[in-house]
């Protein structure tokens, strides 16, 4: 929501809602492109819903007055802040109540069905209980389990962890998209994806000897795909990570983005797209001046989007009665690589899950939550105030994030993943229960917030690390240096994580196929991309 926010739909669907669409395009083609580039791991029922409802949801937003432009192909271009404005306006008209700064940590269940939620009112410093006929989780990804991310704070995986504890399943948790070319320094621009956007137009990356490694080391066709298609995130992230791992990165662990060789009149032309080099609410003109003078900015891949999440069906229903999930917090739609809009995902899945939850609620009465369960959660949440343990939140948070940064990054190996699993298991069983809080005030107690975040970060990372270890192949954004091939003979399966008597249990299930049959065989990374490009017919 912080960046440009494109909404994607098929060209014919666009024509159907009054945009100058490409009639030769179709829902079938859009679905095909999403699944081929998702490496066939997509739940095809979810993709069908996505392409089916995208035009109607887009039309609705346009009718509500969203300011946009249309790229003539498949994208309605707008901005996160603009979407926010329009949607907030609509929720006001419907008199929907919002509770800011309430950090929900757990779901309340009655005989396995979800009947409410419980969490911390951060500003008041009090535990709050909510009764509900049905609950929809729409909390985004868990990017903040990593120290370097392009996402805003607050995306911690707290509700993924809550869903797990309540008995729901997660799926594809090993799949993490990294956005390449994100600014490492200066701190005021850290996490900004502006160079990722610029590199589509001009500029290139260098390793520490000033060599343009993408041109030097990759096939020209791969280079072209990297700079002109939605595969850019994947290819750039892998190439940059390889450079840093072999010791040719920048001092802060990235690579260098530079524009020195770009003629000034080309830059002037590009500036028309971003007048005054302002984009969203940030003034990039000092950065652009600095780059024009011949300097390079240090950039690196950042945790960006989570393909995996809470397991849902095409109605947005989880495996628990009364619990629904929509948007990035749910898993399965984009398989092993997202190439279509996550904003469209929010719009389509949000409407579906909302409708399902409302229909279910009609059949239910508000249940009295189980007081013993409430007491248990309260005891767990407040324990750090009375604990005598010496584990402190800031230090443990750093350690958990370092595990994610070091072992659950772009390129994984079995040996490192095993180590990550044992570290995370130790942290969850031995250190989290020892967390203690120095600050006695309950109102906006950052240590308290951090203790809650650490627990959910660690639980979600454990599911991710276990899944990444389980998947003995490379597929899409999941790359194992010890298993570099994509194996369609044995691994067209989703990995499902759930908890059984407090222990994380993993299993697999075949990919849900309704429309498009995956090809058999085993492919290298480059072969996979070249094959897919051929299949897409470019």
């Amino acid at each position: 929501m912080l960046a440009g926010a494109d909404i994607t739909l098929d060209g014919a669907g666009a024509a159907g809602i009054g945009l100058s669409g490409n009639e030769e395009d179709s829902k079938e083609r859009f679905l095909h492109d999403i699944i081929v580039q998702g490496y066939y791991l997509n739940n095809q029922k979810l993709v069908e819903a996505y392409v089916r409802d995208a035009p109607a949801r887009t039309k609705e937003l346009i009718d509500w007055g969203v300011k946009y432009s249309w790229d003539g192909k498949r994208a309605v271009l707008t901005q996160g802040v603009e979407l926010n404005r329009v949607l907030t306006d609509q929720t006001r008209k419907r008199k929907i109540t919002f509770l800011d700064d309430v950090y929900v940590t757990d779901l309340l269940t009655e005989r396995g069905d979800v009947v409410g939620a419980i969490g911390l009112d951060v500003n008041q410093g009090e535990v709050r209980v909510f009764k509900a006929k049905s609950v929809v989780i729409a909390t985004g990804g868990w990017q903040n389990a990593y120290s370097f991310t392009s996402a805003p704070g607050g995306l911690t995986g707290a509700m993924h962890a809550a869903a797990l504890r309540a008995g729901a399943s997660l799926v594809n948790m090993e799949m993490v998209t990294f956005c390449p070319n994100v600014i490492l320094w200066p701190p005021a621009l850290r996490g900004d994806i502006f160079p990722y956007i610029l590199i589509e137009m001009f500029g290139d990356l260098l390793e520490r000897h000033g060599r343009p490694f993408l041109r030097d080391e990759y096939d020209p066709s791969i280079y072209r795909i990297a700079t002109t298609t939605e595969w850019n995130k994947l290819i750039f992230s892998l190439a940059c990570t390889r450079v840093v791992m072999r010791g040719d990165g920048s001092p802060r662990g990235g690579t260098y983005y530079f524009i020195k060789t770009v003629p000034l009149n080309i830059l002037d032309e590009a500036e028309k797209l971003y007048p005054g080099w302002r984009w969203l609410r940030t003034d990039f003109s000092p950065l652009m001046e600095w780059l024009k003078a011949g300097n390079a900015v240090e950039v690196a891949p950042a945790a960006h989007y989570m393909e995996g999440g809470i397991l849902v069906d095409e109605k947005g229903a989880t495996t628990l009665k009364g619990l629904y999930a929509a948007g990035e917090c749910s898993g399965g739609l984009f398989g092993a690589n997202r190439v279509a809009s996550a904003i469209t995902q929010i719009l389509v899945q949000g409407a579906i899950a909302g409708r399902s939850a409302a229909e279910y609620a009609k059949t239910r009465r508000v249940a009295e939550p189980n007081t013993r369960q409430i007491e248990q959660v309260e005891t767990r949440l407040t324990a750090p105030f009375t604990n005598k343990g010496r584990v402190r939140a800031p230090a443990l948070k750093r350690r958990v994030r370092k595990i994610a940064d070091d072992y659950l990054w772009v390129l994984r190996t079995g040996k490192e993943l095993k180590f990550a699993v044992s570290e995370l298991e130790g942290i969850i069983s031995k250190e989290v229960p020892q967390l203690s809080i120095e600050t006695s005030a309950h109102a906006y107690n950052k240590e308290w917030i951090d203790t809650i975040e650490i627990e959910s970060n660690a639980e979600v990372l454990l599911a991710s690390a276990r899944s990444a270890l389980y998947r003995t192949e490379s597929r899409g954004v999941h790359n194992r240096s010890d298993y570099p091939l994509t194996n369609n003979n044995t691994w067209l399966r989703e990995i499902v994580s759930r908890k059984d008597k407090g222990k994380l249990v993993l299993s697999t299930r075949p990919v849900t196929i309704t429309k498009l049959r995956p090809p058999k065989g085993r492919f290298s990374f480059e072969e996979g991309i070249m094959r897919a490009v051929k299949e897409l017919g470019e």
Binding site: N123, G153, G154, A188, G191, A395, Y444
Partner: protein, 104 residues
């Protein structure tokens, strides 16, 4: 390593009759932001310091990290520090604790 003096308005309405300043010494790094300074204090000196960060966007969009730095309002994620500073909460808002106010 050079350091800067950081004067932070501290106030817990449940306990204190009014705000008071507490001064911390923080190692200076080129181009560091007010948010970096507050994070340093929280992580290394005084974990009781309250400033909004758990859902801050760090991109100048959400404005929830708004504070007053040397008498000028600014977003702590984007305001760079060049020397000693005084940090106050936004005026005319109810203080929840220290730099955290209700309603932004």
């Amino acid at each position: 390593m050079s350091t800067i003096k950081v004067r932070v308005s501290r106030f817990d309405p449940k306990v204190d009759s009014g705000p008071h300043y507490q001064t911390y010494e923080v190692p200076f790094a080129a181009r560091m932001t007010v948010m970096d300074v507050l994070d340093y204090i929280y992580e290394n000196i005084d974990p009781s310091i309250a400033y909004h960060s758990h859902t801050s966007c760090h991109r100048r969009v959400c404005t929830r990290c708004n504070v007053v730095v040397n008498n000028k309002p600014g977003l702590s994620c984007h305001t760079e520090v060049t020397g000693d500073i005084t940090i106050d909460p936004l005026p005319r808002f109810e203080v929840i604790r220290d730099l955290v106010v209700r309603g932004i």
